[in-house]
């Protein structure tokens, strides 16, 4: 009899514990709650819209615009960037710095391994540091047709963004970019 009473008490405690834990974690693991995002957080992801149109004739304007690879990000010229050395405004694209080339190499390695998001991040840094070739590869990293050929599954390309990067690469003097622009326009 005492054993039965003891078991009953233990069972009662266990039931209370399960109920209390369920109540405590309820808001955290309810799918609807988990999926909900405050409006304030929506801007914390990289924007997916197309970059603004560029002045095609002025390379120095292009160099300035390179600092604004994120379409919705504040232009670098208007404020400081902490942690990254940017190229001078009139950077010579034909001679990127070692830092820029290292970022481009990392971006190419990431792209080859299918880590498209990391590739884009590395290449944006390379472009920021004055590497025009990084712009062309950035176009590839957003080009839906290129991603398909690379064997990417799931991640979506952005043809308009790819075209914008190809255009920047073309303006910087990379002849291969013009073919890419034509191909993207045909696919759109």
């Amino acid at each position: 009899m005492p054993m039965i009473l003891l078991k009953s008490v233990a069972g009662l405690f266990a039931g209370v514990a399960v109920g209390a834990l369920g109540l405590a974690y309820w808001p955290q693991f309810q799918p609807a709650t988990v999926a909900a995002r405050p409006v304030a957080e929506s801007s914390q992801r990289v924007a997916q819209s197309a970059p603004p149109a560029l002045d095609k004739s002025a390379v120095d304007k292009l160099a300035l615009a390179l600092r604004d690879v994120q379409p919705n990000a504040a232009p670098a010229a208007a404020g400081p960037t902490r942690g990254l050395t940017l190229a001078p405004t009139n950077a010579a694209f034909s001679a990127p710095s070692d830092d820029a080339r290292r970022f481009r190499a990392q971006g190419l390695v990431a792209l080859a391994g299918g880590d498209v998001a990391a590739a884009r991040a590395f290449l944006e840094h390379a472009a920021d540091a004055g590497d025009a070739r990084a712009l062309l590869v950035l176009g590839d990293a957003y080009d839906p047709a290129t991603l398909t050929r690379l064997g990417a599954i799931g991640v979506k390309g952005d043809a308009s963004r790819a075209r914008a990067y190809y255009q920047r690469a073309s303006d910087a003097g990379l002849a291969d970019a013009r073919q890419r622009i034509a191909a993207v326009e045909v696919s759109q």
Binding site: A17, L23, V34, R82, A105, G114, A121
Partner: protein, 440 residues
């Protein structure tokens, strides 16, 4: 701290206290002889079947005790709606002793048919982004016909190791940096926790008072790393190790750490899930604090990618028109205890197929944006579940010779001492151009 957060934590604390009392009572009842015969569980043979006469139907009995702090805390496994394949195999063996006598395993003659109908996904409750991704994942899988639940628990290498040994989950969302950097993770252990898909990276944010302008100023000072043994704490430790800076870690939840930072008790706070943490979004309105730049270095290769934050992300902590450089730590979807050839690997394969086949369900507006950056075929410095690789190989076009050449060149550059160098950039670029040209 916001009042609702305090209330939630109070409820958690109360629940934990109640659970501790109840668990003690339950253990006293379910394993009364363990203390009397401590050696018995470790050497006890596995039960013949998970549905034996003393085991209720649907409950899987562990074939080993689960011990924590020297005490047996569980003797029966978690409830499942179906027996796990290992137990089905054992049951089949029991029912076909003649076949076993003839040297034919029951598993070979009657291979289990793993069902993706139910699963448990382990996620760190202190990692708001992982929790959000887990919620999305479970919802998408349910829409595909597989019911699942989230199991709250640690996902550091040590905690994941316990999950592997303890059969407490089928899948886990874990930080790749913590796993890759874990020196104790042997090759065999890695094979038991293969990754299914590499998930997106989350920027690591380090918040400090404005008189701290450089990470090196944190050396020897107390910095909030997050909850002890959490994914965030492990990532913070890995990051500071890569940076060559040695602060004194303080382990507490992000909200408490921010309170301590505001009170001057901490020099800085590390947030690895800041994008999903409302607490951080509200912090710093008095402009006394800011975020520190974390410059990517070659020492971080294969672990972190660069990331960038602006005032739009953190209006209280990043000055207007400033761009802050930091790094992002990738996460991965891991299969728990799914060594190649094991029956659990077959179950994981079925779950993987359901996940991959229905992946587009995660690319809709009500799911986290991070899913849109996920390339299911992305590689990682970690073993991949073979069934996942087989699904990918079947789903994507055959790799032509020039693409294989580009990939080989990239792998060669990545494996060099120090990773890809500046001089590799043009060679890799030319290789990519050659492949692109071949496809024109």
């Amino acid at each position: 701290m916001p009042l609702p957060e305090r209330r939630r934590r109070a409820r958690l604390a109360a629940a934990a206290a109640i659970a501790a009392v109840a668990t003690t009572a339950a253990v006293a009842q379910t394993a009364p002889t363990r203390d009397a015969a401590p050696a018995a569980p470790a050497s006890a043979p596995a039960p013949a079947s998970g549905a034996g006469p003393t085991t209720p139907p649907g409950m899987v009995r562990y074939d080993h005790p689960v011990v924590r702090d020297g005490k047996v805390i569980l003797w029966h496994g978690a409830w499942r709606d179906k027996l796990r394949p290992k137990d089905r195999e054992q049951s089949a063996k029991d029912q076909a002793p003649n076949a076993a006598d003839q040297g034919q395993s029951a598993a070979a003659t009657a291979p289990p048919k793993p069902s993706p109908s139910s699963f448990a996904l382990l996620a760190d409750p202190s990692d708001a982004c992982a929790t959000r991704l887990a919620g999305d994942f479970v919802a998408a899988m349910q829409a595909s016909g597989a019911s699942g639940r989230i199991v709250a628990g640690g996902v550091s290498a040590a905690a994941l190791g316990a999950a592997v040994d303890g059969d407490s989950a089928d899948l886990a969302i874990a930080p790749l940096d913590a796993l890759v950097a874990e020196p104790q993770a042997s090759a065999a252990w890695r094979e038991r926790a293969p990754f299914i898909a590499k998930l997106g990276g989350e920027p690591i944010e380090i918040i400090a008072a404005r008189d701290v302008s450089d990470l090196r100023q944190l050396a020897g000072r107390e910095v909030g790393f997050g909850v002890a043994d959490s994914a965030g704490a492990t990532s913070a430790a890995v990051l500071f190790n890569a940076l060559g800076v040695a602060p004194r870690p303080a382990y507490e939840p992000l909200a408490d750490a921010l309170d301590d930072l505001a009170a001057g008790r901490l020099a800085a706070v590390v947030a690895t899930d800041g994008r999903c943490a409302p607490t951080l979004a509200q912090f710093g309105a008095d402009k006394r604090f800011h975020e520190l730049a974390v410059r990517w270095t070659p020492a971080m290769r294969s672990l972190y990618a660069p990331a960038r934050l602006t005032a739009k992300d953190r209006p209280n902590l990043i000055d207007a028109e400033e761009r802050l450089e930091t790094v992002a730590a990738p996460r991965a979807l891991i299969a728990v205890d799914a060594a190649p050839g094991s029956s659990r690997a077959q179950s994981a394969a079925a779950l993987t197929k359901t996940f991959f086949d229905g992946f587009d369900r995660l690319l809709v507006p009500d799911k986290d944006d991070a899913w849109r950056d996920v390339n299911l075929a992305a590689e990682a410095p970690w073993p991949r579940l073979r069934a996942a690789q087989a699904w990918i190989d079947a789903a994507r076009p055959a790799l032509d010779a020039s693409l294989q050449s580009f990939r080989a060149a990239a792998r060669g550059a990545a494996s060099a001492d120090g990773g890809p160098a500046a001089q590799d950039s043009d060679r890799l670029y030319d290789s990519l151009m050659q492949w692109r040209g071949a496809g024109q």
